[in-house]
């Protein structure tokens, strides 16, 4: 595989994580538990979709403009998406939304910090930009984990359930294959395994502060990075891609 092809796949993974989670959180628009949270979640969604735009533009250039950024987002089927399973999980309730976000933000902050020194200038620039936003996201989700965990009996029960449920999708955030190896050798990609200890350390610290139990189940589910998704992604894409599928090339 050429470096360009490997980089295309690598960029798409990051972009797909941002887009799918951005779309998921956007489902809260108009449904937030309180007005401020409605605005917070849609702001975070906007940041993520903005990051996805920057990344898809880059990906599009890497494959010589074969597809535009919009085509990459709206005209690929589920098997072609390489987002982690975590980000496609349904919102369910506010606790599940925050738990998913917390695991992801904790990963993303470390990831962008490292990626900001990538040898690929474009990727480094996107990481540097996205990192500033991600710090706000992580503060938001971490504080909610603590409020809900150390809150009422009901909020504690529900956030613990969510934290336990999403745990099985966290290993996949550190998934690596030959694409990574090829790009790590060129100092373009980040060895994700090197981030794991810091991620775990941060997650455990916050969960402790939230008086929550650290999940103990060891089963881990993977597949998203290679296009094997849960049933939930299809429904999400059906809604997100409806306009372009029904009215091809439609523009606002």
């Amino acid at each position: 595989m050429t470096v360009k092809e490997a980089l295309f796949t690598y960029v798409l993974r990051i972009a797909d994580d941002s887009l799918i989670l951005g779309q998921r959180i956007a489902e809260w628009c108009g449904h937030g538990p309180i007005l401020e949270e409605d605005i917070a979640l849609t702001n975070i969604s906007l940041d993520l979709i903005g990051q996805a735009t920057n990344l898809y533009q880059f990906a599009s250039e890497l494959e010589e403009n074969k597809r535009t950024e919009d085509q990459l987002a709206f005209l690929r089927v589920d098997r072609e998406f390489s987002n982690a399973l975590l980000v496609e999980q349904p919102n369910k309730d506010f606790g599940f939304t925050i738990s998913r976000q917390f695991y992801f933000d904790a990963f993303r902050k470390l990831f962008f910090e490292a990626l900001a020194s990538s040898k690929d200038e474009r990727l480094a620039a996107i990481a540097e930009k996205s990192l500033k936003e991600t710090k706000y996201h992580l503060k938001h989700s971490s504080e909610w984990i603590i409020r809900l965990g150390d809150g009422t009996e009901e909020s504690k029960k529900r956030i613990q359930e969510a934290i336990n449920f999403h745990w099985k999708f966290t290993d996949e955030l550190f998934f690596q294959n030959e694409i990574d190896t090829q790009l790590i050798d060129l100092d373009i990609a980040i060895p994700l395994t090197s981030l794991k200890a810091n991620w775990l350390n941060y997650v455990v610290t916050v969960l402790h502060q939230a008086t929550l139990e650290i999940p103990t189940n060891t089963f881990q589910q993977e597949g998203g990075r290679l296009g094997f998704h849960s049933e939930h992604l299809g429904y999400l894409l059906a809604e997100m891609q409806y306009m372009q599928r029904a009215f091809p090339n439609l523009e606002w």
């Binding site: 605005i39 906007l46 903005g50 735009t53 920057n54 930009k129 936003e133």
Partner: protein, 159 residues
Amino acid sequence: MVTTNEIWQLLEQVADPEIPVLTIVDLGIVRTVEIKDSTCIVTITPTYSGCPAMHVIEDEIKNALSSVIQTEVKSTLSPAWTTDWMSENGKIKLREYGIAPPENEVDKSVLFAKPTIVPCPKCNSKNTKMVSQFGSTACKAHYQCNACLEPFDYFKCLR
């Protein structure tokens, strides 16, 4: 032939579409102005990745310069925009408009850190509280003054 200085002056007339009291120069989103082969290349940078105003800003730059020179607008992400680039004059205009300008903020990695003290843009009281870290646009947080009860936007510090 128009000079880059004159172009900067024209760009100082272009208002930000979301905070019209500020110009794009006040905000620090115009990074460079170059003239090459009788075309002007203006490079801008977004405040946030998902800033929806970028396309409008691009059109407005072209409009503002259309009578003097042909213009191309480019976008760059690095170095990433920071509120440190906002002009002092811009901060004064923001406050007069009712939006508290960015303050030096505490480290975001500290959870439940005491929120930054943001003086009320209406009555100047420092007795204010943060309602939400996220406000009406990506670049703002939502505050309220405990003294005069005015709810206000705070242009949050981004570094």
